[in-house]
Structures are given as structure tokens and as C-alpha cells.
Symmetry: C2
Subunit: 440 residues, 2 copies
Amino acid sequence: MSTAAPRATGQDHLWSVDEHLEDILTTVRPLEPIELNLLDAQGCVLVDDITVPVSLPPFDNSSMDGYAVRVADVAGASEEFPAVLDVIGDVAAGQAGLLQVGPGQAARIMTGAPLPPGAEAVVPVEWTDGGLGEGPVAAMRARSLAPEAAGGQVRVHRPAEARAHVRAKGSDVQAGDRALDAGTILGPPQIALLAAIGRGTVRVRPRPRVVVMSTGSELVQPDEELAAGQIYDSNSFALTAAARDAGAIAYRVGAVADDAETLRTAIEDQLVRADLMVTTGGVSVGAYDVVKEALAHVADEDEPGSGVEFRRLAMQPGKPQGFGSIGPDHTPLLALPGNPVSSYVSFELFVRPAIRTLMGLTDVHRPTTRATLSADRPLTSPKGRRQFLRGRYADGAVTPVGGAGSHLVAALARADALIVVPEDVESVAPGADVEVVLLG
Amino acid sequence: MSTAAPRATGQDHLWSVDEHLEDILTTVRPLEPIELNLLDAQGCVLVDDITVPVSLPPFDNSSMDGYAVRVADVAGASEEFPAVLDVIGDVAAGQAGLLQVGPGQAARIMTGAPLPPGAEAVVPVEWTDGGLGEGPVAAMRARSLAPEAAGGQVRVHRPAEARAHVRAKGSDVQAGDRALDAGTILGPPQIALLAAIGRGTVRVRPRPRVVVMSTGSELVQPDEELAAGQIYDSNSFALTAAARDAGAIAYRVGAVADDAETLRTAIEDQLVRADLMVTTGGVSVGAYDVVKEALAHVADEDEPGSGVEFRRLAMQPGKPQGFGSIGPDHTPLLALPGNPVSSYVSFELFVRPAIRTLMGLTDVHRPTTRATLSADRPLTSPKGRRQFLRGRYADGAVTPVGGAGSHLVAALARADALIVVPEDVESVAPGADVEVVLLG
């Protein structure tokens, strides 16, 4: 790390939420693709179009447990006048090439087993006597208990058309078809298809590794004793959980004390496992705001634009924010404010979209909706700042929970939405229509 | 495992989807709670009500970087006629008990730091000269660069009311308040609150361990060579992914051949790590349906009602189903049919709710909605069976993808919804109102 010239934008510029977000989203690039085992790629974004290498099913096969027959042999068959056929053996799933069905013959066949040569249709076992000579049966006898049922004779009670109960080769997908498009998110059904066409690995953008570090000499690990002036560290827990929720592999680093050198070392130590660094605290105007102190003048001289810039944003909570990149790999870093609600709201607005951009997703934002404000009195908001209040959303209405204070963690835990009050609005009356971010 | 009497319900009973589901949901019980580290409990259900042990914040503290002052000392202050106070030192976050603010004095104070005795309010640094004697400043100088700023004099340009910029002890939550109710699902904001009140561990119902095993001698592992009559195993991949998606810790067991003894051994080997067993294939009426063969007569004689029962369900796809419990711990087992679409739909309808019941969730089902059928021709459905067709849902309309065939994996990968055709409906016209299960 070394000192570089400050960026073009000055310290006095008050950034809008949208400007800050745009800076992040145009700077952060999707991670390089890697080849992953299918189940490790769950939730990841496919990089290449996938073409079907082999038709599905790969061969004509039976869709029922029954008998593979020639159509002419069962024409006109009924329970009163069954077609009597010689059973030449079993075709189980996974078998092939053993039997040939000739005139007057049938092969007992299982669901998914290949239609043997000579056979033209399958009659379900329920349309036969199952070889027992005593009227229709509901099921075959198990091979292991009654091996003789693979021979003898079977009475067929109904005719079958050509191809009846036969799944044609390629009826699901044909070799050469497009199975999945690049950009597809791999959920269970997409994983099913990839496995079905024989793909055991797949090239995707990996889940980003996110290191979450809280800063503050006042922070104590939960379950330890609080001394005077101390509070428990909650940000590193909350944001690690939120990063996982966003799709990342997240590593929580315990609270780091307010000392610039300690912090710099801690960050450098973590860079090796980070695709994205997130810090909380130490970004404001105080004399001990060491994140700012440690990172504001850190950049790679050879890389214009690298380094971390600290900004004032026209928003509440979350006015002070830092963003930039650090280390030899120019790892993106978001430095969030330290108040629990400020850091959580900042995560939702800025870090979550950054994580989802790293994953290669195009839909990186939380869904928003319009809702009717349900409140006893007007919401007030400072002019010129976009305010994000915590709320509960249900059935088209949103109710604020807790106040605007950025230390109100208990209210945050009851919220499932953020109520957005635009920059040019200072008061919102009950019953008004407001924008709501759904926290999902 | 030993032989037991069959259950009361006979083999001939045709079960409705609802009867089968009810049997599963009344049999499967939530897992016993365990104490987990906070971040390991993400997504889990809280077992106990959680009470706040210590008020938050635990002490009066500053909401701004600024100066802790006595109200009388700054009364009437302005930029023209500033109040000039002696700075007696810094109060950083995490410090306490070092300073006492007397008349004519101020302590430089950081956000989150405890209000020192004697002080009644905080004036933000932006309302002062920051000790520089040159008009209002935007920020404090870093302690490490300008230690002298913790002393000297500060000019305050504005008065402050009592308690201005002070967060009162207990203004977030009070000791004794209910923090979270039993039954709460622990997302990031709830984890934030638990950490903030000092809880490092929490008693929750753990994620269920689900073992997924596909059966079939025709199944080949992806990336291997297909011989004649073979297909790739996709069910074990799809359902492992789906189980993880539902909240489980899922273990995939590769395809097991159609041999009852091999299968029994494979299942017994897995029981040690299973809270729920899921198999696919081998449950129908064929001569090689070994899941049925291996499990239909397996039960603990001492436990009435244990054992696995195989049923015909009035649904399509997914007619043959097995459900029961096995092994010394009566581990629940769902035996799903082997066709990929059948097993996937069965998972959504029966296994996912079972997993979520094990987790202690009360909302165990996928959301459903009504939609307008967008199709070129009517959907047909067999009488007396509830049909689940794959579809794509958007903006109140649902469009079928692929046909009804239970082997159509490619169509499944393009679907995001199931179209439900009730038992008593045989045809649904385009434009009709249908029930839709949203696969999320």
C-alpha cells in the first residue's frame, strides 16, 4: 500500500444514493468463472450456453411396467378373448440388447427399460393377467420372489396402438438443442437437467468470498462481560448473515480496535480470502475514525483510480460511506458507518447489489413496491436527504416500526421493509403512497 | 429391521394428495432443539422467548462526533459570539469514567462514547471551530495526527438543549423486555439483535440432515460413459439441491442398483446421519421395484405404526408413493417415484413440507396464487386425479411448458410454477382461472 493522488471528486461533494450506487456497480466486476461440481454450483450463474450432447431419452423406452408386444399380436384382445403370448424374459431398466420380440411373443418390461427390437408397443401390467392365468392383476410379482414370471405365458386383455406407452428417443430434448442459456441461475430443476444430460461439472461465476470486519474499541464479543462504556459487537454478525443471505461465502472477523496500524494489518491479512471487504465504523468525522484514517490515503500508485474514497451521502441513516479498492488484486472494499441500523441499511443498499454483481447476476436489487403509509402521524424527513425508515409491509400497506434513530436494533428486528422518503420530501402524511423496499 | 403387521389402511385405498400430506405432517415432528452459535443458527427457528438482559444502549452516549458540554455554558452561543470552553480531553467509544465536565469545560466526544459526568448535551463538531480558532470545521483532526486537539480551547457556535445528541440508556430496548418470541426465524436483523444483547449462542431447532438416494440399475453418474439402456442419474442431484433450498443439510448418495439387499444395506448405512431419508424409484408395480420390496415389510415390531407403507395417490405425476419410518430412531422416509418430473413434483408437495416441519416452521408450504391460463388449447387431465403441470407464471397469467410426460426434464428447467388441475376437472379452457403453486 502506498499513497496516491486523491480522486477527482472532492471531499465536499455530497453524493446522492444513486451516484454512490452507480459508482459501486460500474466498478465491481463479475468474478472470473470457474468449473464447479454440479451441486457446488447451486445458486450460481452459468457462464456458457449449454448444448445437449445426447438426446433424452437416449433410446425408446417404456413408460409403464408391463409387456412389450407386437401390435398385431394384441389386436382385438379383451378380457374374454385375451391374446396369449409367450413371455421370453424380462427387460429391466438398465438392460439392453438381450431380447428380440418375435410374433406371438412378449417381453416383460419395466418403466424406463429400452423397448426391445421387434416390439412396437407396451401394454401395462394392469391390462394383463401378469402370467397368473387368473384375470387382471394390479402389479407384477417381484423378480426375486417369483423368477418364473419372466417366462411362461401372459394373457393380454386389451389391444395397444403402435408406440403406446413408449417414450420416444429424443422426446425430452434432442442432441444439439440448447439446454440452458448463459446467464441462467442454477436452481434444482436446472441442476436436474444438467445431470440428466451428463454434465457433472459446469462453468459458473463462483460465490464471492466476503470478509466482514467491524471496528470499534468499544465492541465486545457476545457472551463476554461488558465493562463501562462498552457494547456488544452486532454488526459483524448481522452483515455476515446478510452476506450469506445474498449468496456470498462470508467470513466474520471479530471487532478490530480503533488503531489505524492494527486495522491496516488486519485488513491486509484478510485480503487473501476476500473477493470483497466490508468494514463497519470509523468512517465519520471523529478523531478516532480509523477506517478513514487507515484507508483514505492507501492506494496503488500504478493504478489510477485505486484507493478508498470517503464520502458524505445525501441519505439517512448512512451519511458517511467509503468505497474503493485495496491490495494487489484491487479488492473492492465498502466501508460502512458503525451504527447498527446505518450499517444494515447501507448493506442492503450497496453491499448486497455489489455481491450480486460479483456473482454475475443482472437482477441485483431488492424488489420494491408502492404501499399506503399506515401511521398515527406524519413521517418527517430532513430536506435533501433520502431517508430509509424501517417498516412492516403487508397487503399493500406499510407501518413504520421504531423511530429514525440509527441505534434502534430492536425495531430493525421487527421490520421486513424499508420505507423510502425521497430527498425533496420533508413530511409524509398517513395514507400517502410511499415507495417500499421489501427485505424478503 | 423385522417384519410387522401391515397398517390398517389397505393397499387398495387410493389416497388423495391431501390425505397423504396430512399423514406426513402429523407423523413428522420438529427436531429436538440444540444450542448453536449465532451464525450457525441463521435460518433456524428460535425455541425460547428471548428476554433482554441489559438495556440498550447500556449507558447514555453521544450520537455525534462533537463536544460534551453543560447547557448553561453554551446558552446563547453563536458564530459571532462563541462560547469558549476548555477542552479537558477526549472520550472515545469504549472509554468511561476518566473525565468529569465542570463549568466552562468541554470533553471532545466520539459517536457512541459514554456521556461523561457533568455534561448535559453534545454539540456536533460542525457547530464548533474544532479547537482551531478559525470558524466552523467539517470534521475533527485525527487523534493520531493532532493529539493536541484533545486539549486547548474550543469555540462553540450554537447552543444545545439538555440531552441534545444524547442517546438515552435503554432507548432501544430495556432490560426485561421481550427481544424475540419463540418461533421467530433468525434472519440477519434478528441475529443483529441477539448479538447486540450479548447472546453468542441460541437454542433453535437445527437444520434437518436429509439423505437423498436414487435407485435404479440403469443410472449412471454424470460425466461417465452411457452404455446401451442407461441414462444419467439426475434425481439425486435435483433433490439434494431442492433439500438445501428448503433449508436442510443434504447428503447425496449416488444411485443404488435395483437389488433389495444392497438397498437395505445402503439405507441402514445412511441412517446414522439422517433426520429424513428420501429415495427415488422402485415404488411402482414392476418386478424390479426394490424400494418397495426392501421396505414394505420392514418395521419395528415393538412400535405399532412404524414401517414404510406404499400407496397409490390420486395424482399425476406421482401416483406411487411410499411413506413411513425406519431404523432404531424411526427416521421418517419418503420413497418417491423415479421419473424425474414425478420425483421433483413429489418433493415439492411432500418432502419440502416435511423438511420445514422438522425445522419447526409453521409455514411449510410453497405460496399459491390464482392465475389465468394462457394456452393455445385446453389442458386435459385424467378424471379423479389431481394433476400438476409445469408452467411459467408472470403478471397473473400462467403458461404451460412442455407436456404432461413425467420424463420431461428440459421443460421442468424452464418452469417456475405448477398448474394445479383438481380431481374433478378433466379439461381447462384457455383463459380459465387456475390454481398455481409458485416454485420461488
